[in-house]
C-alpha cells in the first residue's frame, strides 16, 4: 500500500511539474497545431466522411494518462498513447477532427423515452445496466483569450482562467461544459454539432467549435469506456496552440 501511495505521489508530482512547465513556458514549435482554411462547408466537413479531410494536415498529439487519483480506483492501462488532430477553419467555425485507436467500442443506443409522463404509461423505460461506461472525447480551451504566455491550469482551468469543454460521449452525445478548476466542471444547457464514426478499431469524431483565433490554447482528452474511464480517469494532452 505504501509503495502504491509513494508511486501515486511521485506520478502526481511529475504530472504537476509537467503541467506547471506547460503553463509557464512559451510553446515549442512542436505544440503548434496547423489550421487549414478550408473551402469545404462546415456541413461537408462534419458529414462528408474521410474524403473531406484528406487534404488537411494531421498533427499527432501525445496523450498522457492521469495517475490514479483515489486509492479505490481500478487499474487502468496505457492503451491510447496518442490522438490524431486535424483542424479546418470554415464559415465562421473551427472544425476539429480527433482520431484515435480504441480496440473496444463502448457505445450503445439508449431506449427512446416516450414524450408522455411516466405515470400515464404501463411501462417505464428500464435501466438496462448500471455498470457500463462509454467512450468519450473532449476539446478544452480558455473561455477568455489568454493574455501573454500564461495558459489556464490544465486541470480544468482555474478561478482566473475559466475554460470551456466541448465534450462528446459515444452514447450521450455532445454537450458544452464549463469549469474553473478541478472539481468544478458543470454542464451548460448548450450543445454543439458533432459527428462520429467507429471503424476497424478507430474512432473519428468531428467537433464544431466556435471560430477560435490563432494563438488560442486547446487541449484534448479521450476516455475508454471499457476500463470504466470517466471524470479525471482519462488520457489527456498538454496545451497546444492554434496556428
Amino acid at each position: 500500500m505504501k509503495t502504491r501511495q509513494l508511486a501515486t505521489i511521485v506520478s502526481v508530482w511529475l504530472l504537476l511539474s509537467t503541467i506547471w512547465a506547460q503553463t509557464k513556458a512559451k510553446p515549442t514549435p512542436g505544440q503548434f497545431l496547423p489550421v487549414a482554411v478550408s473551402s469545404a462547408s462546415a456541413d461537408n466537413l462534419l458529414h462528408g466522411g474521410p474524403a473531406a479531410w484528406n487534404q488537411i494536415a494531421v498533427k499527432h498529439v501525445a496523450l498522457n494518462r492521469t495517475p490514479p487519483l483515489y486509492d479505490t480506483d481500478e487499474p487502468a492501462t496505457l492503451d491510447i498513447p496518442s490522438v490524431d488532430v486535424r483542424i479546418a477553419r470554415t464559415g465562421g467555425n473551427l472544425l476539429v477532427q480527433l482520431s484515435w485507436r480504441d480496440s473496444t467500442h463502448d457505445a450503445i443506443t439508449l431506449a427512446e423515452v416516450p414524450n408522455t409522463p411516466p405515470e400515464t404509461r404501463f411501462r417505464k423505460v428500464p435501466t438496462e445496466a448500471d455498470d457500463r461506461f462509454f467512450d468519450a472525447a473532449a476539446v478544452m480551451f480558455p473561455t477568455k483569450a489568454a493574455s501573454g504566455a500564461i495558459a489556464p491550469s490544465l486541470q480544468m482551468g482555474d478561478a482566473e482562467h475559466p475554460v470551456e469543454i466541448y465534450y462528446w460521449n459515444a452514447t450521450r452525445g455532445a454537450m458544452v461544459m464549463q469549469a474553473q478548476g478541478r472539481g468544478t466542471t458543470r454542464r451548460t444547457d448548450r450543445n454543439f454539432l458533432a459527428n462520429s464514426t467507429y471503424q476497424t478499431g478507430q474512432w473519428s469524431v468531428i467537433f464544431e467549435l466556435p471560430d477560435l483565433p490563432a494563438g488560442t490554447t486547446v487541449a484534448f482528452a479521450v476516455w475508454n469506456g471499457r476500463q470504466k474511464d470517466r471524470d479525471g480517469r482519462k488520457y489527456f494532452s498538454v496545451w497546444q496552440v492554434l496556428e
Partner: protein
C-alpha cells in the same frame, strides 16, 4: 457536522415484512423511467442475500480514515426489473396470460423467509433499509463533482441532480449500497428522507404507511424526540455495521426475544433463537448490552412495574413516534 440531524429508529421486533413501506416509497419517488430496479426503501430477510445481493460483503465505507474499494453491483445483483404485458392482455385482446418479462431470476427480497437454521430450528427477521443519512458519508467524500451534499439544516444527504455526472463513485463508496444509477437520466439517485414532506410537517412516507408502526422519526439532537430517547437516553437502538465508519443516522432495535420451542421465559443469551453472533455481525458488539437492557425492561413490566422505554417502543400513535420540527430546521436567511 450539520446544525441538526434527522434520524430514524426501526424496531425490528415489530416488522412484519409486508413491504408497505417499500411500495409507499416506490409510488412516491421511484415510479419514473430508469427507476424500475430502485428501492430507496427495501425490506430484506435476514440472514439472507440482501439487496443488492451480498451488499454487506462487497466493500465501501471507511477504514483508518481512507475510503475502501468496492465493485459496482451489477444488474444481476439487483435482479433485472420486470414488467407485465398488460397492454396486450387488457387493450389488445390477446389471450395470453399476464406474464412478467424478462423472466424473473432474482430481485428485491428474492430469498424471502428463507433465513437460517439454528439447532434444527429456522429463524429469520426482516431488515427494512433506507439511506442512513450518515454523519460521515463515504458517498459525499467520494464524489469529485461535489454533487452529494449533506443539508446543513437537517443532516439529510442528497444528490444535486444538476451537478451529478453519473460517475458512480458514490455507489462504490457507500457500504450500504443505497445509491442507484439511473441509466435513462445518466445520474445517480437515492433516498431523500422525504425532506419535502418533513418540510411540511409530514413524516416520511415509509413511516406513515407502516402497519407495524415500527418507525420513529425526529431530530437526534432534540431531547424531546423519540429517536433521541431511544438512541441516547434508553440506549436500545444501534446503527447497522458501525464498523463501516460512516456513522449512520438510522438505528435499529435488535430482534431480542423471538419465541423458540420450549424456551418460554429464557433470554436470547441463555437460549437464543437468533444466534447472538449474527446480531453482533449486523450491529456490532454493543448489541449484547442493548439486549440486556431490553430484557431488563421487559422483566420490569412483567413484574408489574412501568417501563418508559417499552411504552415508547409500543408507540401507539403518531405523536409518540414522530416529532417533526419544520420550523426548527428552516434555513435562517
Amino acid at each position: 457536522m450539520s446544525k441538526h440531524q434527522y434520524a430514524m429508529v426501526m424496531d425490528l421486533n415489530k416488522c412484519l415484512g409486508c413491504q408497505t413501506c417499500t411500495i409507499a416509497c416506490k409510488k412516491l419517488w421511484t415510479d419514473r423511467d430508469g427507476t424500475g430496479y430502485m428501492y430507496w426503501n427495501n425490506v430484506e430477510t435476514r440472514p439472507g442475500l440482501g439487496y443488492p445481493r451480498q451488499w454487506d460483503r462487497i466493500g465501501g465505507g471507511w477504514k483508518d480514515g481512507a475510503l475502501q474499494p468496492s465493485p459496482l453491483p451489477t444488474m444481476d445483483d439487483y435482479g433485472h426489473a420486470w414488467e407485465y404485458n398488460y397492454e396486450q392482455r387488457l387493450y389488445e385482446g390477446k389471450k395470453q396470460p399476464v406474464m412478467p418479462s424478462p423472466e424473473p431470476k432474482s430481485g428485491v427480497n428474492w430469498d424471502e423467509d428463507v433465513g437460517g437454521m439454528n439447532e434444527q430450528e429456522n429463524y429469520f427477521f426482516y431488515l427494512p433499509r433506507i439511506c442512513n443519512h450518515c454523519t460521515h458519508p463515504a458517498c459525499l467524500e467520494a464524489c469529485p463533482r461535489k454533487a452529494v451534499y449533506k443539508r446543513d439544516e437537517d443532516g439529510i444527504v442528497v444528490i444535486d441532480q444538476d451537478r451529478c455526472q453519473g460517475y458512480r463513485y458514490c455507489i462504490k463508496a457507500c457500504p450500504y449500497k443505497k445509491i442507484y444509477f439511473n441509466e435513462v437520466t445518466g445520474k445517480s439517485e437515492k433516498c431523500i428522507f422525504c425532506y419535502p414532506r418533513l418540510e411540511k410537517g409530514e413524516v416520511n412516507a415509509c413511516a406513515a404507511q407502516c402497519p407495524g408502526r415500527l418507525r420513529f422519526v425526529g431530530l437526534l439532537d432534540d431531547p424531546e424526540s423519540p429517536v433521541h430517547k431511544l438512541v441516547l437516553v434508553h440506549k436500545i437502538a444501534l446503527p447497522l455495521f458501525p464498523e463501516k465508519g460512516t456513522q449512520p443516522n438510522v438505528f435499529y432495535v435488535p430482534p431480542f426475544n423471538p419465541p423458540k420451542r420450549e424456551n418460554y421465559g429464557k433470554s436470547i443469551q441463555e437460549d437464543p433463537r437468533v444466534p447472538l453472533d449474527y446480531l453482533i455481525y449486523l450491529f456490532g458488539p454493543d448489541v449484547k448490552d442493548v439486549i440486556e437492557r431490553l430484557e431488563a425492561e421487559l422483566k420490569k413490566t412483567q413484574e408489574g412495574g412501568h417501563s418508559e422505554a417499552l411504552q415508547l417502543l409500543i408507540g401507539r400513535d403518531g405523536d409518540t413516534r414522530y416529532r417533526i420540527r419544520p420550523q426548527l430546521v428552516q434555513i435562517q436567511l
